[in-house]
Symmetry: D2
Subunit: 383 residues, 4 copies
């Protein structure tokens, strides 16, 4: 069995492992547009291999169900019509068992494909498909958390919360001297198109903190009236706070005189020593403004990231998601992967406790709308 | 076992019988606000007995789960906070098995309650609860049809469609002579508060048809441009047509040169001889206007209903849903049953193929908003 | 000069008289969809005569401006495309002077038409046009009040408020004996199509009050928590209260410890002795429910109206707006006048302080959506 | 008279000059939220001087009307409550004449203030107020164009369209060599806070065109199906096209077989030789993508802008609006000027035919949401 086959099996298995604690009903619901039903993630990641690998590259491949192209397409407009994103939670069929059958069908065919001598296209697309599946593994965690954490019964996903064992970090300031730096990927391994080309940037002198902002520090912001003082907020952020009556990070509940938050292990008091989680860019920027500081740019972050530990929270940066110099999208549907989102979103750097092991790297660029907060997001300060 | 106990068991069993063909996933979804997840209906009808019978009238009754008062309350504001109606489909928990356990728990306690000598309040509330459950049996059929019929896979609910064996009716006109008539309930059995008091009305001479309008007749309306000519429509109806781009009854699909419709037995050609189904009041009134006729009022319908067969479609009338002379609502939460809906809705008379046997009667008043069409609604003409 | 010519001139002059206190800017704005800019009313009433009288019946008539058919059409879909209702306030042109020129142009042509021997069609349509203009005179008052009363400067329209000289009424109960009554118009004069046919109705015994509900009585309802107790409200009404955070009648403002209301004479304390004004059907019904009473039906009102004084407030009834037996709409665009609104609206009876003298009568049926309250609406109790 | 006094008078006079061709009604309307009524611009620019100059710095200054702080505040949350932006067009009072009286009142007081010896704060704030007024001069042009250009009568603002005399540009490519460049303002004159600090950036080699894209070139994109092919569009842009059914630039109308566009001189055929105008960032980016090119970044633009002519269109760049290194907002309400908008907007560079003479400069940063197109926006290509 080749290394790629081994990796294929391990990655696919991990996806299903994440779903194991779920009840059938949990696979179905979509409480908000951004949160897809777990069974959709299971189907969509199988569809990706069927569409981009099996149909074009495995002779004699028999499509599992022609309707699935319609049901499990996400945003690949090239490939055909798709179910409107907000309708995913309205579909009870195909059922969970049927979708697992679909995965089996795809896996068997993929193993057949991978057991033959591979050309570069197939190998490359398979690696892309596995990275794509890893992204959906992270989304599975965040979407499951949203589904269970917005149920009034607050059911527990598993005994141990993902973020349970986190140890405090040393708070300190790293200097980034003025000068020319190189950012972007130029190694031999896999990277997404948005990480290229590696290129020079000129940075002004600045400082970046070695630690993430903690729940306790954020509570001080809240107690100081941070959510009630427009001066700390962007204009859009202030509108967002007022319209949605935001008063705390996502999943936080005031019970008696103490802040609790829903975790995958259940509802629990928020530990002031632990890193803050589930805040929007608006909140991250407002907190930094309240501190008289700012968020790092993505170039600053990348220039310093080998000098601090990262990987527990996706970290909001002050950078909008834009193409690097020389960015080219791939031809065809694969080209829709990243480039089309390069407007109205902010960059996050690092990785989170929900990120699949080995998925991220120092040049990795994640991105979300400024109001998003269902990912495991956090804050690192700069000045 | 008393007659009431026997009826209790039969009614409760019938509810679960209706759900038997469902897969677990089908119990969960809520594609639009008006359509509740089947598991919500199962829980809500149990909650009704727990709240209005067991808690106040069975000494030592142990509540199944205090949170369920919040989850399965519908519109009974007296009883406490409730989950926003549009959020029902976002709740994966409690799961289907757990809700069946809830029903078992309630059933055992109810049988205990019913086995003791009954006072009139308990007997009366039990009968109300069973009539309430029968109403939800009908909603189960209509909501299941909506859930499966809006799935792009068009899954079949059961081999035989509810409305499958319908035989054609003889088209004819009954005369209703001018004069004083009595309408409303005054028998000894159960009726809803909105059917009382029985009272005199004065009717002008009119004619009412013995047959329901058929699919074939409605196709003529469609072919004559009925959906494109504002002259046949109420102003609100015309806005509804344009905003929602309505072009046919609910569940109708044009495939090739033929109209099909989704039935509980699957997608099938619409039979021109069968009675029309799933049209809104707006469509019913527009069709009648196109024919140069009108819909009957509810008093006309009731005055003539013993002279034609009814019970296959709920029939739209030209009457708004308003209180009868002398109408009084009951005290407390039970008083919220009907009176609070007496504005902005139209009356339907008769019963449908989805109505529980014995549930309706000639004085029965059903009511929905003028745009509703997921019930098994139909048209009977008057002039 | 014929009687019709004299009446034409007087009616048209009265419209402009109502607008005399306005500044040019007041003619332009449309703060909500239901409130049209005064200059639109001026243009629309001229357009009515141009479209239904001059173009078809005055040989050689020269249209003032072909675009005006588009701009000043209201809901007459037969006549052609029209500016979307919510866009009326976005149009600065044609300006006020230009619209008065349009009225001059139409008036001259109408006087020419009326000076020739008249056939019945022309006479009938002219009378309809004048009644139509009188309806817009009332709307001018209500729309001007809305425009000025929602300006934070609360500018005064005129020294004397319309409703200034109202004297208190004697509170008493009139008995309406059970039996057959006739309602609807059958005189020789003008009536709208919705007042016909005159027909028999059977009424149960009831009582109707001789006086309108006063501000003071309504304040008791408010002080008793009437806006906070769902038990008094229709389900739709309670949703309306919560969604719009309704806490008092329209135009009411709490200043210090006293209720004020905006009148056409400016902001002034609400006099407890004066009849209540500017409440929705929902509020009227909730108030009646709080009193343990109800609103009269329109038949009850008409049966008793010659025994109490009316004409200061449009009075909400418990009747939905529906066709009378034998109702027929006229052919063509004129047929769109009333019938198309016969769903989702409630009937008001009487007339208000803003109604043009001689415009209303005992059989007159006004109608609005249950949430509307910018008309001079009031409450008369029945039981 | 000092230079500042002369400039104050000239700038204030120019604002009123722009409004001279308007009819009173044109001052009042607000067809969409982004377009303010001209009388609001007149009042708001006076309010700026009254609030930030006269009240704090002119002893004995008598406020014109205390309510105006509420009415003419825009987004300065520090200063107090303000009329909701979308409500500006609902206010007929204060009238146009009254607002001109307000301006006279402010101007007299300002001239008194400016005739005394000036400290730096007063001089600085006055210059800021004049630059602020110039920004509203440009908005007056764009908002007047929107108001008249969305009126079905297409009234002309003035004989000569703003953009009438534009001569064709030579199409050519300028090379920008790789290396370090400095961008941002460091001169002695006035600049906005968002232009500072001047700082080094590293640019990759690129080319920028000397000419703006013309109507003719854009017509080719349209004829090639540019609005129908998602591959050229950002995901948000494609949603915007579909939701709003965008098929051409703003103000463009297909009449017969020829594209016309509304200009301030009236409706006229679109000249293929003239520079394109009134496109959103989404359209600009889609056009560039269709050409296989891209938009320049703001740093590239600034590095090359002394080598091509600019000033006829605000030019969309590929840069999101973000703070420069070392950006600091001023204390107090003045600090709300620019920084709070630094999210979810794109940068435009240059100036347009509607920009006040001398207002812009090579370091000037304008910014709008990616969907905005009522400004005189255009496209310059890079690669």
């Amino acid at each position: 069995m080749t290394a790629l086959t081994i990796r294929y099996k391990a990655t696919r298995e991990r996806t299903e492992e994440i779903c194991r604690p779920l009840e059938t009903e949990d696979y179905v619901v979509q409480p908000v547009a951004d949160v897809s039903p777990p069974k959709w993630h299971l189907g969509h990641t199988a569809w990706f291999f069927e569409t981009f690998l099996l149909k074009p590259h495995l002779p004699g491949y028999r499509e599992f169900n022609a309707d699935y192209n319609f049901l499990f397409n996400s945003y690949y407009e090239t490939v055909g019509a798709r179910v409107i994103r907000t309708d995913r939670g309205n579909l009870s069929r195909p059922g969970v068992k049927e979708i697992y059958r679909y995965r089996r069908h795809v896996d068997e065919a993929m193993l057949r494909l991978l057991s033959a001598p591979l050309n570069e296209t197939v190998a490359g697309l398979t690696v892309l498909g596995l990275n794509h599946e890893e992204q959906h593994q992270e989304l599975l965690y965040t979407d499951i958390k949203y589904i269970l954490g917005h149920n009034p019964l607050f059911p527990r996903y598993a005994e141990t919360a993902l973020a349970g064992q986190e140890v405090p970090e040393e708070n300190g300031w790293l200097n980034i001297p003025e000068g020319i730096y190189e950012i972007g990927y130029d190694g031999d391994g896999f990277c997404f198109d948005n990480e290229m080309n590696r290129h020079k940037v000129y940075l002004q002198p600045c400082k970046i903190n070695t630690a993430l902002v903690t729940n306790g520090s954020y509570m001080e912001f809240m107690e100081d009236g941070g959510y009630k003082d427009f001066r700390f907020w962007h204009s859009d952020g202030w509108d967002w706070v007022k319209k949605n009556q935001i008063q705390a990070p996502l999943y936080w509940h005031r019970i008696g005189d103490r802040w609790h938050h829903y975790t995958l292990g259940g509802l629990t008091p928020a530990d002031p020593e632990k890193p803050l989680c589930h805040i929007s860019y608006y909140e991250a920027a407002a907190y930094a403004s309240w501190k008289g500081m700012r968020l790092p740019t993505e170039a600053e972050w990348e220039a310093a990231a080998d000098r601090f530990s990262w990987g527990r929270r996706w970290e909001w940066t002050e950078s909008a998601y834009l193409p690097y110099p020389g960015f080219k999208k791939a031809a065809g549907a694969i080209g829709e992967y990243n480039g089309k989102f390069m407007v109205n979103q902010m960059v996050l750097r690092g990785a989170s406790c929900a990120t699949s092991p080995g998925h991220s790297r120092i040049t990795y660029r994640n991105f979300f709308q400024a109001y998003s907060r269902w990912q495991f997001t956090g804050i690192r300060l700069a000045q």
